[in-house]
Structures are given as structure tokens and as C-alpha cells.
């Protein structure tokens, strides 16, 4: 025993494992790759939703429904997958090629057997049938011819292979022509083989018709093999055989590379496009409605009254389509509730005829009529049309409130100025508003009475929209969006004399989901 030193056990392990490295099996990396590909598909965002509660939960629900409706098939080819698939494809292509070649070989083998049999038979029959060209002793010239032909064919072929690519189609034709010649030669020399060769060629022709470059190349290989078969059958030079085999293998290699190249370029072009073009975004927004001008939409007498825009809710779903990485066009539908209140009024009751022109009083005879403050009490002259009104007691702040519901269909463009984890977008477009319910009511501390519908509202109106969008990308597919938008109504009232230029401001918030 060689006397070794005593060592502290810790020391021993520390020293020995200092530069320890070990290679895991290749399987590990394969597993990692496939797992990464999976991960991309099922990112877990659901737990995050619940944390946001309230609106977010509602949105989640909408989103799930939206997802089911708009995205029945899940397709997200990840980059990793693509690569793998590319390789697989090429593999399978070469695989499909292989059996064909094998097939030919088999046939050739079969034909070889046949020929040898035939040859024997023929030799036996030699005396009887001197016209049979296949009989060995007499056949020398034919065989020689054939060999030279083959050699020439092969040489031609080699140079053509070096020429490569573009001239493929013409090349194919040439080869086909060569093949025909050869066939004829074979036919002339050997009837038995005549049977097998055309069937092989038929096979070839099919492939040429249906398949791409790769297969064409492969067919070339077969072509050579055909020649091979002839050469081996006639048992002349082994040199040509070798040359031919080399050719075919060279061909095959080339074709595989070409195929890979082709698929690679295909993959690259695919990558340049946005991965998921469609995006669905449910959203809610507090919307503030007000007018840019002093006028009143209800009656000119309220033009100088205090008007307060109210904050209401808009909610809806938008679907957008990415034209490029940065530019997308979107549309959708949302429900917009708007309201505003007019103050400094007082109320009276009187006949409907005295009521406000812009309100449909629903055929009631005696109605509540809001008028400018002071119109009834301070103005008792006979000319005052409001003399006939009985003041209605109302305490506190009396307001005339107009509520509107629109169904909004926007058409907007969205351009990303900043497109990172955090994104900034400019938005612009217009919306078509379809009038839903509308109502004018009076509100005071002690009463809340609906008067009727406004009759001067357009059933269809338009808005011009501008805004900014901010988004935060939670994952590749999920974004959180906040979009302050300004929407200006173009023709809300049928009565063009109404000096009321309403707009609304909304801060649209929601999650969007790409598919």
C-alpha cells in the first residue's frame, strides 16, 4: 500500500469535487425544449385575474366567453416547435423518398432474376430462335452500345449535377429523354426487362408530376439506379456502376440541403409576421358626458343654466386585427350610458301643450314642466306663458337630467409608439352611435320623476375619436389596457338649431387577449 496522507473528510470531498463536471444525457435537453414549447401555450394568468377582483372578475368571464366564441381552435406555433417540425418534415420527406428507391431496387432485383432465367432459357432456345437479340453470344454489339450509352449518360449527368438548381426542369426533361432512349435500348435487348422498366418509369412520372424539387432530385437518383440495373444486368463495367451510385447519393444529399434551405426560408418569412393577429378586448370605462358649448339640448331657455356632466359607465368588447406589428385596426360594440344634468330650474304642473317641445310626454294631459328658475314665481304678467302653471314644490337642488344610452360601434386605428412590456399607443377613428333608451327626468331631494323621451335625438349619429392607449403586457397574449379617449359627437340632434356640442371622455380599462 502506498502511504497516503490522512485527510479531513470535508477536505477530501471539497478537493475532489472542485472541478467536477458531468454531462447529462441528450434526452434532458429534448425534454427542456418540449417543455418550453408547452409553457408558451399555457401560461397561467387565471390566478392573477382573481387577485384583481371586481371588474377584473367580470372581465375574466367576458374574456372566457369571448375566447370560446372567437377562438375555437388554438393555434400558436412556437418558434421552438417550428424548428422541430422543420427537421421532422425534411426527415419525413427523405423517408418517403427512401421506400421509392428501395422499391426500384426490388424491382430491379426481380428483373435481374428474371433476366438470368430468361437468359438461360434463351441460350437453350438459341438454335431455334436466332432472331432473339438477347442471346449472349450474338448480343455483344448490343451490349457494348448500351454500355457506352450508359457511360455517356452518367457523365452528362455528373456535369449537370454540378450546374445545379435553376435548370432543374429542363434537366428533368433531358433525363426523361435519356431514360426513354435507354428504355428503348433495353427494350431492344431484353423483352423481359421491358416489362419491369416501364412500371418503374410510370412510378417516376407520377412523382415528377406531383412532388417538388426534392423528389425530382430523388427521381434523378432512381434514374441512375435504373441505369445501374441495366449495367449490372449486362455485367459489363463495375466502374459505371460505382459512378452512378455516387451520383445518386450526391444528388440525394443535395436535395436534402435544398429542402432544408427552402423550409428555412419559409420559416423565416413566417416569423416576420405578427404571431397572433387577432385580439379581443373586453373593456369598461367611466364616461364623462358634457358639452363644449353653453347651449341646452332640451330647451333654449336653459342655455345659460348650470350644466353638469355626469359620470356613467360604458362597457363592451373590441376586436382588433394587427395589420403590422405596430398598426392595428379595431372594431367592436359597446354600450354607452351618458347623462347630464341641468340646474337652476323650477317645476310646475300644467297641460301638456305647455310642456317642453323636445319632450314626448307620453299622452298625459297634465304634466310636470321644468322651467327656468324664476319663470313662474317672479313673472306674473299675463303674457307669461307659464302663468298657467301650478308651481310644484320641490326641495333642495332641482335638476333636469337627461339620460342616454347608445350602442357604439367604433372603427379605430391604433398605432404603437412604444411597444415593449409597457406600450404606448395613439388611437384615432370614429364611432357610429345607435340610440338606445333615452329619458328626461327631474330630480330633487324629494322627487324623481321621469318626464318622457327626448324627441330631438338622432337615431344614428357619429363621433370622432382620439385617444391614447397604455398597455402592460402580462404575457405574450394578455395585456392590461388603459385608454383615455375623447369622443366628440358630430350630429347628435336632429334639430340643428340646438347649440349643444356634446362630447364624452372615457377611460377605457380592460384586458385584451390575443389569438
Amino acid at each position: 500500500m502506498n502511504m497516503s496522507d490522512k485527510k479531513n473528510i470535508d477536505q477530501l470531498f471539497k478537493e475532489r469535487f472542485k472541478d467536477f463536471e458531468a454531462a447529462p444525457s441528450p434526452q434532458v435537453w429534448e425534454n427542456i425544449q418540449s417543455q418550453m414549447a408547452e409553457k408558451k401555450e399555457d401560461r397561467k394568468v387565471i390566478p392573477l385575474w382573481w387577485k384583481l377582483g371586481g371588474i377584473a372578475a367580470l372581465l375574466a368571464l367576458l374574456l372566457t366567453v369571448g375566447n370560446a366564441v372567437f377562438n375555437p381552435f388554438d393555434q400558436e406555433p412556437s418558434i421552438v416547435n417550428e424548428d422541430v417540425e422543420t427537421v421532422k418534415e425534411t426527415d419525413s420527406e427523405t423517408n418517403t423518398d427512401a421506400p421509392i428507391i428501395l422499391d426500384t431496387e426490388e424491382r430491379v432485383l426481380a428483373s435481374e432474376e428474371n433476366t438470368s432465367e430468361q437468359t438461360i432459357e434463351n441460350t437453350e432456345d438459341a438454335s431455334e430462335n436466332s432472331s432473339n437479340k438477347n442471346i449472349k453470344p450474338e448480343d455483344k454489339t448490343v451490349q457494348e452500345k448500351k454500355v457506352t450509352q450508359n457511360t455517356i449518360a452518367n457523365e452528362n449527368f455528373k456535369t449537370k449535377v454540378q450546374e445545379k438548381t435553376d435548370s432543374r426542369v429542363t434537366e428533368k426533361n433531358k433525363i426523361a429523354a435519356q431514360k426513354k432512349k435507354e428504355e428503348m435500348a433495353v427494350a431492344a435487348s431484353d423483352k423481359n426487362e421491358d416489362k419491369t422498366v416501364p412500371s418503374v418509369n410510370k412510378n417516376d412520372a407520377d412523382i415528377i408530376n406531383t412532388k417538388t424539387e426534392t423528389t425530382i432530385a430523388a427521381t434523378k437518383g432512381e434514374n441512375n439506379k435504373d441505369k445501374n440495373a441495366v449495367v449490372t444486368e449486362t455485367k459489363t463495367t463495375s466502374e459505371t456502376t460505382v459512378a452512378a451510385t455516387e451520383d445518386s447519393s450526391e444528388n440525394k444529399k443535395q436535395s436534402i440541403f435544398d429542402a432544408i434551405e427552402a423550409t428555412e426560408t419559409a420559416a423565416v418569412t413566417v416569423k416576420n409576421k405578427p404571431e397572433n393577429r387577432w385580439e379581443v378586448a373586453p373593456n369598461v370605462a367611466p364616461v364623462y358626458y358634457n358639452s363644449l358649448s353653453e347651449g341646452s339640448s332640451i330647451d333654449p331657455m336653459f342655455a345659460d343654466n348650470s350644466q353638469n356632466g355626469d359620470v356613467n359607465l360604458s362597457y363592451g368588447v373590441q376586436v382588433s386585427y394587427a395589420i403590422t406589428d405596430r398598426l392595428s385596426v379595431r372594431s367592436g360594440v359597446s354600450n354607452v350610458d351618458l347623462s347630464y344634468a341641468t340646474g337652476n330650474i323650477e317645476l310646475g304642473t300644467g297641460p301638456a301643450a305647455l310642456g317642453l317641445r323636445s319632450i314626448n310626454y307620453n299622452d298625459k294631459a297634465i304634466v310636470t314642466i321644468p322651467v327656468d328658475q324664476g319663470s313662474i314665481s317672479n313673472n306674473l304678467t299675463p303674457e307669461n306663458p307659464f302663468n298657467n302653471l301650478t308651481p310644484k314644490s320641490a326641495s333642495g337642488n332641482v335638476q333636469l337630467v337627461q339620460n342616454l344610452t347608445y350602442y357604439e360601434v367604433p372603427l379605430e386605428l391604433k398605432y404603437a409608439i412604444l411597444n415593449n412590456k409597457f406600450g404606448i399607443n395613439v388611437l384615432g377613428g370614429f364611432s357610429t352611435l345607435f340610440l338606445g333608451n333615452n329619458e328626461i327626468s327631474v330630480e330633487a331631494d324629494n322627487l324623481n320623476e321621469s318626464l318622457g323621451e327626448a324627441n330631438n335625438l338622432s337615431n344614428v349619429s357619429f363621433t370622432t375619436n382620439v385617444g391614447l392607449g397604455f398597455d402592460y403586457k402580462i404575457s405574450k397574449k394578455f395585456k392590461f389596457n388603459i385608454e383615455p379617449m375623447f369622443k366628440y359627437q358630430l350630429n347628435p340632434y336632429t334639430d340643428s338649431s340646438v347649440d349643444f356640442k356634446p362630447y364624452y371622455l372615457g377611460i377605457y380599462t380592460g384586458f385584451s387577449f390575443k389569438f
Binding site: 479531513n8 467536477f20 463536471e21 447529462p24
Partner: protein, 179 residues
């Protein structure tokens, strides 16, 4: 490609860069997995999980400190997570074993394979403490924190690990001498 470039690409989830990162570091990290695992198969499992975690969380690596150090920590944490799940450490303190035993052994050109084998054969809780404390330089406090045990348990587990390893090495040496 420099390491920095590689990290940036990996942060963008570039598949090629991930492959390159794996190529560069899988052997080092696998050696850690081997020391922490009872066998080769589990070590490979851990390595797989480790790289998934690295690719997923590479965003969180700020350019402070060494990237390799960060990856090693991820590796150790990934392995330990498995044992936390298995509740290996939910055992009663087995009583303190003071580590004042003579830990000297003869280094008789003992092959690395054998040393790895006897580490892997240790019961989980001993193996983890031993490899963390002795080979990865964690303190007893850190070991205790990471494994959710007390300092005392960490110390006594270490002592037991050493005792077992010592016995095995001595047996090996004896067998070798007998030849």
C-alpha cells in the same frame, strides 16, 4: 457571443440562445444536481427543472453579481424544492450528535465515482446538509433556513453524514488493502 449578449437574448426567450446557454452550463449545473440527488435519473430531472426555471426567470436576473452564481443558486433551490414537497425535513430532531468525532480518513486515491456514489447513497437529509455545507460553502444558518430545520439539526445531520461517509471510505480502503 459574449455571456452578456447571451443573457439578453435569453431574456427575449430566444430559443437558439437558450440552447447555447444550456451547452455552456449544463455540465457544471448537472454536477450540482448529481451531488444533491440520490441517483442519476433524479439528477437529470432536477437539471431539466432547473433550466426551465432559468429560462422562465432569467428576466429576474439583474446584472449584479455573477450569472453563474445565480444559476447555481437556482439549481440548488430547484433541487431543494423537491425535498420540501416531499417533506423530508418534517422529522423530529434526532437529538444532538456533537461533531467532535475524528473525521480523518486516508485518501487512498479514492475514485471520484465512488465518492459521488456514497454521497448519493446518504439519506436525503444528510446528503443535502453535507453537500450544502461542505461542498457549496453554505453556513449552518443558511442550511437551516433553506431546509426549514434548526441550526442544531443541521449540525447533527452533518455529523451523521460524515460518520457514514467515513465508515464507507474506511471500508473501501480496507477492501483495497486486502487485494
Amino acid at each position: 457571443m459574449t455571456l452578456n449578449e447571451l443573457i439578453i437574448l435569453c431574456k427575449k426567450q430566444d430559443a437558439k440562445a437558450q440552447g447555447e446557454l444550456y451547452k455552456r452550463y449544463s455540465n457544471v449545473l448537472f454536477s450540482i444536481c448529481l451531488r444533491y440527488s440520490p441517483n442519476y435519473v433524479e439528477a437529470e430531472d432536477s437539471l431539466q427543472d432547473t433550466f426551465i426555471t432559468i429560462f422562465k426567470k432569467i428576466e429576474q436576473f439583474k446584472d449584479k453579481g455573477s450569472f453563474e452564481g445565480w444559476m447555481k443558486r437556482v439549481t440548488v433551490n430547484t433541487v431543494l424544492q423537491k425535498y420540501r414537497k416531499k417533506r423530508v425535513f418534517d422529522i423530529r430532531d434526532e437529538g444532538q450528535l456533537e461533531d467532535e468525532v475524528d473525521e480523518q480518513v486516508e485518501d487512498n486515491d479514492i475514485p471520484l465515482d465512488f465518492l459521488l456514489e456514497i454521497i448519493q447513497q446518504l439519506p436525503d437529509r444528510y446528503r443535502l446538509v453535507f453537500t450544502m455545507y461542505v461542498m457549496d460553502g453554505y453556513s449552518h444558518k443558511e442550511v437551516a433556513d433553506m431546509l426549514g430545520i434548526t441550526d442544531g439539526t443541521s449540525k447533527s445531520n452533518l455529523a451523521r453524514a460524515r460518520a457514514i461517509l467515513k465508515t464507507k471510505i474506511e471500508a473501501y480502503n480496507a477492501a483495497k488493502e486486502a487485494k
